[in-house]
């Protein structure tokens, strides 16, 4: 079933939409949640919440790319859950990502400009660097996993990520932000 057909099921308020979503992207959502929560039970709850949120959002929303839409929801829900529980169980890999991100993206009042700048920066970056950057900081892939996926060494991935962070920081500072 195509994404469009699944979305049509949502619009028809057909609960089969959830089943199809799960069949098509359940693993994706689960893995996304697991990379943040590092707990299967928490991740399963997070995925279920993702489906509920998707059910409540579509309609009126009509996602252009369903998997991206679902990933975003899962990611946000997982992080929210992580923040609530992190005192008890910490995901060191995620913490490292957060620390690294905080070095290159300012905690500024967001009126859409910053989002646009980040989007522009990534869009104009080297393709491989962009994939590594978003793989690491959006999808929370480990450095090792990306190294394997892209045929790089872990050090090469780390180096490229480091340089991307530096470039992004410099770019945003030139745009007037204080990182």
């Amino acid at each position: 079933m195509t994404d469009q057909e699944i979305i049509n099921l949502y619009f028809a308020r057909d609960e089969q939409a959830i089943a199809e979503t799960d069949r098509q992207y359940g693993t994706t959502c689960m893995r996304t949640a697991m990379r943040i929560l590092d707990s299967r039970s928490d991740a399963e709850e997070c995925v279920n919440d993702t489906y509920l949120k998707a059910w409540n959002s579509i309609p009126p929303e009509r996602p252009n790319v369903l998997v991206a839409f679902l990933c975003r929801i899962t990611r946000n829900l997982a992080v929210t859950r992580y923040r609530a529980a992190h005192r008890h169980k910490r995901n060191k890999d995620l913490e490292l990502s957060l620390n690294e991100l905080s070095e290159c993206i300012p905690a500024a009042e967001e009126d859409g400009t910053l989002r646009y700048l980040i989007d522009s920066f990534l869009r104009t970056s080297d393709t491989l660097d962009r994939r590594l950057f978003l793989g690491r900081y959006f999808h929370n892939y480990t450095v090792r996993r990306m190294a394997t996926a892209y045929g790089l060494t872990e050090n090469a991935v780390s180096l490229r990520l480091f340089k991307m962070r530096e470039k992004l920081r410099t770019y945003l500072e030139k745009e007037g932000y204080t990182v």
Binding site: I118, L128, M146
Partner: protein, 521 residues
């Protein structure tokens, strides 16, 4: 620890466009209906960084002001230190503290340059602190274990900080420990990302030691581990891992008001037989020493201002020099004139010999030099140990897997005060049948800046990203039928990034660097 800023950034990044989100999904997450990712190959010179033999990021720090010290910690737990990472800096319960006397556990031996830290050892029989004659080398050896850790600073205007470990069997520092051998040494950044691992040693003909690691360190914390094998007879006895954390950081307790050095077009001036003299300038972190070989009458003048008294006058070798913030001395070879960077005004100076009236038509002999301020640069080199570059590809290892060619980077002061990159063979590491044919310096757009093999004529690289390619030749086995040797050309490459230190954000008073120890928990 809650990282609110990180969460905010994380949330912001979560709003990137859908197409980029999908594009970055790895295959296992793409689900049905999402096209596979088109594999993006790295650029030409980066490809070597991504080959199977791994990447080591070598950072080279050359700052005009560096203060050295040594920190050394040995950890004889026998359980091994990373790879894998048993140290999690900045995590709860394992905070890295500087200036902390070390250590209360894990048999760690630590030395600090300031003497505040003393060795604590459990399994080693004794520990000797060694210190070089120049007072800048600090090392510790667990005798019987056969290693020395060094932080060392070299003289001259550029004072790199170096960490190395070496087999001490042939050094004067410690007792011979013939049954112990260092078999591996690794360096990690503090995220425990491996930066370099060496399993073979190169000979340091100067130090008469097996040198496993010698590299520049940039400011930051470095985790160094090494493996020592103890053998008795032909039987393997034990293998222990040791580690230390080196914290190379700016120090505020040694204030240098400016980053200065001196330069001159000549170090010898001859004026009419028999009147001549030789002058030599040596720049250090604190100032410059001027040595002249004739204890006679001298006049030192600031050429920019014409002032004499303000900069000092040497009327006779026995007069006290009114030198800029100098300890009283006079310009003799055994008592060099000292120009303290804290107080010496930058400018052009002339030291004139006034001991003998010049012949008619002649001038007094003089020696000009200039004290000037300049920036400090950091040079970082990425590659598989640029200090001892190994093969570009695994199958073309240079010399049976042993690194035999040293590539030396340096940043020197040039006429325009920009860094210089040079590549040259290490005198102590050549083997018969190998040679470097040429090296090429590219800018970041792969425009050739230099191509040749003039080791003694380094290239001014300036600021930016550069790529260095080394073409070498390795002679292979002798082929009797052809009465010739096999051989082939090999290529090595790495990336250099040269940038102003601290990007100009550092206060002038924050130099030079210091080295401190931190505990390994």
């Amino acid at each position: 620890m809650t990282n609110e800023k990180g969460f905010t950034a994380y949330a912001l990044l979560g709003q990137v466009a859908d197409d980029m989100v999908v594009d970055t999904l790895l295959p296992e997450d793409r689900g049905a209906g999402v096209a596979p990712v088109k594999k993006e190959r790295p650029r030409r010179f980066m490809s070597f960084l991504e080959s199977g033999w791994g990447v080591a990021i070598i950072c080279a720090l050359v700052a005009v002001s560096v203060m050295g010290g040594i920190i050394w910690a040995g950890n004889q737990t026998g359980t091994g230190v990373p790879p894998g990472g048993t140290v999690e800096p900045e995590s709860e319960g394992n905070t890295i503290e500087t200036n902390t006397p070390l250590l209360e556990q894990n048999n760690v031996v630590v030395y600090g340059a300031d003497g505040a830290c003393y060795p604590k050892r459990i399994l080693c029989n004794s520990t000797d602190l060694t210190q070089g004659e120049d007072g800048l080398e600090h090392g510790v050896t667990a005798d019987g274990l056969g290693f020395v850790g060094h932080m060392k600073q070299y003289g001259g205007a550029d004072l790199p900080t170096v960490v190395w470990a070496k087999d001490v069997e042939t050094t004067d520092y410690v007792d011979v420990a013939p049954n112990y051998t260092i078999t591996q040494i690794s360096m990690y950044d503090m995220n425990m990302v491996e930066q370099m691992t060496k399993t073979a040693m190169t000979l340091d003909d100067e130090m008469f030691a097996a040198r496993f690691i010698e590299r520049w360190l940039s400011v930051g914390k470095w985790y160094v581990s090494f493996r020592v094998t103890h053998r008795e007879g032909n039987s393997h006895h034990c293998e222990c891992d040791y580690a230390f954390i080196a914290d190379v950081r700016q120090t505020l307790d040694t204030i240098v008001t400016r980053n200065c050095t001196v330069k001159t077009d000549k170090d010898r001036y001859e004026w009419g037989n028999p009147y001549y003299f030789t002058a030599t300038l040596t720049s250090t972190v604190e100032g410059a020493y001027l040595q002249v070989d004739d204890p006679d009458a001298w006049l030192l003048v600031n050429l920019d201002t014409g002032e004499k008294g303000s900069v000092g006058v040497i009327d006779t070798p026995y007069d006290t020099l009114i030198a800029p913030a100098s300890p009283a001395s006079y310009a003799r070879s055994s008592y060099p004139l000292f120009f303290d960077w804290k107080t010496t005004p930058p400018g052009r100076y002339r030291l004139t010999y006034t001991g003998t009236e010049p012949a008619e038509g002649e001038e007094y002999p003089y020696y000009d030099f200039e004290i000037y301020e300049h920036d400090v640069y950091v040079l970082e080199a990425y590659g598989d140990n640029p200090g001892n570059i190994t093969a570009l590809e695994e199958q073309i290892a240079w010399g049976e897997g042993d690194p035999v060619i040293d590539v030396v980077f340096s940043i020197q002061d040039s006429a325009s005060n920009l860094p210089i990159v040079s590549v040259k063979e290490s005198a102590g590491c050549q083997i018969v049948g190998t040679e470097i044919r040429s090296w090429i310096l590219y800018d970041e757009n792969f425009n050739i800046l230099y191509q040749g093999r003039e080791w003694s004529n380094p290239v001014e690289a300036g600021i930016g990203t550069f790529y260095v390619e080394i073409l070498g030749y390795k002679q292979g086995d002798y082929i009797p039928e052809a009465d010739e040797y096999e051989g082939g050309l090999y290529t090595y490459a790495f990336c250099l990034e040269v940038r102003p230190y601290c990007d100009g954000s550092c206060a002038e008073t924050e130099l030079p660097y210091d080295v401190e120890t931190t505990p390994v928990e």
